[in-house]
Symmetry: C2
Subunit: 237 residues, 2 copies
């Protein structure tokens, strides 16, 4: 199936096995991807359901449900203090790596106060990246929250990336069924933020001895978490 | 020392403990970083030696050698089929993550034939990224090689990232003292390239179930290798 193009649809478009395509979706399938009537593509509802579909002009027919999953068996939420630049790339890359939810936070060192347009843009990027990386789920991106508020979000395992130093390496940590990983922006977290997080059961972890930029650290963290989940599953097979 | 600014110098600039600064270096220290005479910075020779240094107008004095190392204890060479775009970002990010050497290769699916200017640019980026990530070593970037030639480079452990499928996960592999990791460009390696690599003792590995873009895969691979080296060292302490 990996050669087929992918399109995210929403539930309200589906009646039985027929999907009413929006004009943007028709344009994308027919003009951008150059599919013709009768050609197949993959339709995803962005919540884990996937179908093989056939294009028929302004609609498509869902012909069979597909069960192969490229999703992580652990739900991973990335809490990220908004960096000055590069957030688009972070959204794209962590989506490729399997993130479930992204929570942009305003930390003491955040300089940016993003507009609503940015949020729409990030959600579009997440959808594109989910399609391209052949995921079944489009990650949720929450509206930016103050760091203190975001600390109340629930997860089985909660980690905060601290700068180098003596913290445990993320690869040596245990992962529950839901994982929260919090990463600072340029300059990292303030001492007060680290204390607040520890009081909320966050464990400080390190990603290695070198200083990673704010746009590299989230990609590294997601690479490690996805690797831990998938390599363990493979070695248990 | 983490607050001090860093500058890469070359051996020929050093006489005893005095470094003759080039006019670009003077500009960088005095104008860009706004250091004044008498201010300290870190000088690196890019080959593993590091000193505390004091700025004195058009020269600097090396006052002491620094032994703290943020380098990986394993030498990692990234062999990367040149992607259509984004190689600058890859060089920057894998340098942050501790790569020792980058070998750009021309593969069957490479569309780009880079100019010599590009090589200079990549080397500048690697130097900047080594300084910013507080490394002692500036990674070597070789001139682009044909894939077949690059396969003859030596390493203890040689891995080739294959698309998903049934290969072993990189995190479940063993690392020797020198590691070579080969990553394809858009579209991955051809079947013939994979066969050639296997004949040269490369083991195909997977980075996970999702399709990673050519610019994300190297960052993921280096994150995993650095994590394997540093988490094992930490758990043996």
């Amino acid at each position: 199936m990996s050669q087929l193009q992918r399109l995210v649809i929403v539930e309200s478009q589906v009646k039985g096995s027929i999907v009413a395509l929006s004009s943007e979706q028709q344009h994308y399938l027919q003009r951008v991807l150059r599919l013709k009537n009768g050609d197949r593509f993959i339709a995803l509802d962005g919540k884990g359901q996937t179908w093989a579909a056939i294009l028929e002009s302004d609609q498509a027919t869902l012909i069979e449900s597909i069960h192969a999953s490229s999703e992580l068996t652990v739900s991973v939420t990335l809490m990220l203090a908004l960096p000055k630049t590069g957030f688009d790339d972070v959204v794209r890359q962590v989506t490729e790596l399997g993130v479930s939810c992204i929570v942009p936070v305003i930390s003491d060192r955040t300089l940016l106060n993003p507009s609503g347009n940015k949020l729409d843009r990030w959600r579009r990027i997440a959808q594109e990246a989910a399609e391209q990386s052949e995921r079944q789920i489009v990650p949720t991106i929450l509206e930016p929250l103050p760091f203190k508020t975001a600390l109340d979000l629930q997860a089985d395992s909660k980690y905060l990336c601290a700068e180098r130093g003596s913290s445990q390496h993320l690869l040596n940590c245990e992962l529950g069924k839901s994982v929260m990983i919090a990463i600072g922006c340029e300059g990292g977290w303030t001492a007060q933020e680290i204390e607040l997080a520890i009081a909320k059961q966050y464990q400080p972890v390190t990603l290695g001895k070198r200083i990673l930029r704010a746009v590299t650290a989230p990609v590294t963290a997601l690479s490690l978490i996805a690797g831990m989940v998938e390599s363990r599953a493979a070695s248990e097979d």
